[in-house]
């Protein structure tokens, strides 16, 4: 009787008819045949080993990790297709082509089996590779974006541009021209110099409340340095290195001269202290993350740039500075895109106001052709329009400030406004 020890077959390399290895015997299947137990098939390949160790899922994951799953992983070879007469050298009795039809599946083990075909493996690997590349690229992009959207102040403390005392009289004019009180004055009281903030500014992006900018050291900006104020006005960055929401018009103030910042700082220091902080902003969900303002700034904010057009006429150019920078007229007299940034081709052409609740008039020559420079200057002083009307709404508040400017500044504003090219009013 020829016998063979089956345990000697375990782990043995199986050779093809041509002597090529087709894998190792990892399992031997036997079934009852009457009173006998007979060998029915041999399992060859690494998945058979995983199956024997009840580690198919883990083994598959490991193979996938090392990208080795493309190898033929499981053959179920019938007993008569392997010659085991020499258990140390088992040999196939069939061809490799016949062997390819013996690739095995997994029978109800509740475990993931090997792929049915190499095509699936290739696609699976490609998807995973693509996913890995996507995740890596995403991680790199996130790091770069995190860096690029950081709030970086432009000026450092002790910046020499701001050395020396500011001019209070000029600071008062900057304060008026900048229309600071219109937003920062404490609502519900008549003193426009009590800058406790808190007025609610509704917008499609949430409700924003200008902060306390009084000289109070705790609740206001009394503890700020002049460079803190410069960074706020020109960079839109707070002393705590947060971005300001662009409801604060630093997009216009960014081209302020250092002297004006210094003078304004000196003047603000003289204003009364107001204790108490404004209620917090109530931004829309996405904008609750201040870092998102960094993305907005990347897209729409150009630090220290201005849209002013200069023509070497001293009055016109002074008007350009006042209109485009200090008085930030375009912030209201323009329409905005879906992200709340001014559409350049509608600059000064009016449209729906930033709050989305009214309509701001066009101040280009498309509508102001009938106005003279004097008409404009008079309106900025008295609020009266050439057709015997009066400006209203928030413009009335603006006029309260422009009325404090010297005649020369109102004339300069008028000249610049008269020079604006005509742009049709955008349709609401």
């Amino acid at each position: 009787m020829d016998t063979v020890n089956l345990e000697h077959l375990a782990g043995r390399r199986v050779l093809s008819l041509r002597g090529k290895s087709v894998g190792h015997i990892e399992e031997i299947r036997a079934e009852r045949d009457g009173d006998d137990m007979v060998v029915t098939e041999f399992h060859v390949g690494i998945f058979a080993a995983f199956e024997r160790l009840s580690a198919l899922a883990i083994g598959t994951a490991v193979l996938d990790f090392f990208h080795l799953r493309h190898r033929d992983c499981l053959y179920r070879i019938p007993w008569d297709q392997i010659d085991i007469s020499d258990p140390l050298r088992p040999r196939l009795r069939c061809t490799l082509e016949q062997l390819s039809h013996m690739k095995g599946g997994f029978e109800g083990k509740g475990e993931a089996g090997p792929p049915k075909s190499s095509g699936i493996v290739t696609r699976s690997t490609a998807w995973k590779f693509a996913l890995a590349v996507f995740l890596c690229a995403g991680a790199v992009a996130a790091v770069v974006l995190w860096y690029m959207t950081a709030a970086k102040p432009l000026f450092k403390d002790q910046d020499r541009q701001f050395e020396g005392p500011g001019d209070l009289a000029r600071g008062e004019l900057v304060f008026a021209a900048g229309d600071c009180a219109s937003c920062h004055a404490t609502p519900g009281q008549p003193d426009r110099l009590r800058l406790g903030g808190g007025m609610a500014l509704a917008s499609p992006f949430g409700t924003f409340r200008p902060p306390n900018i009084s000289s109070d050291a705790v609740d206001g900006i009394g503890a700020w340095t002049v460079t803190d104020l410069a960074n706020a006005l020109i960079s839109g960055v707070s002393p705590k290195r947060d971005h300001y929401y662009p409801t604060f018009p630093y997009t216009s103030f960014t081209s302020m001269t250092p002297d004006d910042v210094k003078d304004l700082y000196a003047y603000l220091k003289t204003l009364p202290k107001v204790s108490g902080r404004a209620p917090p902003h109530d931004p829309a969900l996405l904008f609750g993350i201040r870092r998102s303002v960094g993305i907005w700034k990347l897209l729409f904010f150009r630090q220290r740039s201005t849209a002013a057009r200069l023509d070497r006429d001293i009055v016109h150019d002074r008007g350009a500075y006042l209109v485009e920078t200090l008085s930030h007229c375009a912030e209201c007299h323009s329409t905005r895109n879906a992200f709340g940034a001014i559409k350049p081709d509608t600059r000064f052409a009016g449209g729906i106001d930033p709050q989305g609740t009214g309509f701001v008039p066009n101040i280009t020559q498309d509508r102001m052709r009938g106005w003279t420079e004097n008409d404009i200057a008079t309106m900025l002083k008295t609020g009266e329009t050439p057709n015997h009307g009066r400006v209203g709404s928030s413009m009335a508040d603006v006029v309260t400030n422009t009325a404090m400017l010297p005649d020369s500044d109102r004339q300069a504003i008028a000249r610049y406004i008269k020079g604006l090219r005509p742009i049709a009013t955008p349709r609401p």
Partner: protein
Amino acid sequence: MDVLRDLLDKQVLDRQRVKIGKVDGLVAELRQGKPPRIVAVELGSITLARRLGSRPGRWMAWLAAWFGGERHAEPHRIAWNKVRDIGVDIEVDIDVHRTAIFDWQDWLRDHVIGRIPGA
């Protein structure tokens, strides 16, 4: 049944449920035109040594024969028809004391362990 997973290295119990060793080997008969038939399970150090290679197997067989005589020169073999149940353990219908499986154990008990005071 998966032979390597479900049989090999499993504990073997005799009819008294005495642990007599583990399935160290499985002997299959090769038949012309018929599938190999499992005819016996093997136990013992010789079978175990053979799994490491033919040379360790020969050394172990020589050693066993030198110590225990020719009776111990071959692995302990239990016919497959004596296998009663295959579960967590493999139960066989034999009396281990009628085999040579415990000879080494008995000799060790009588000549070494039994002479240790207090044992």
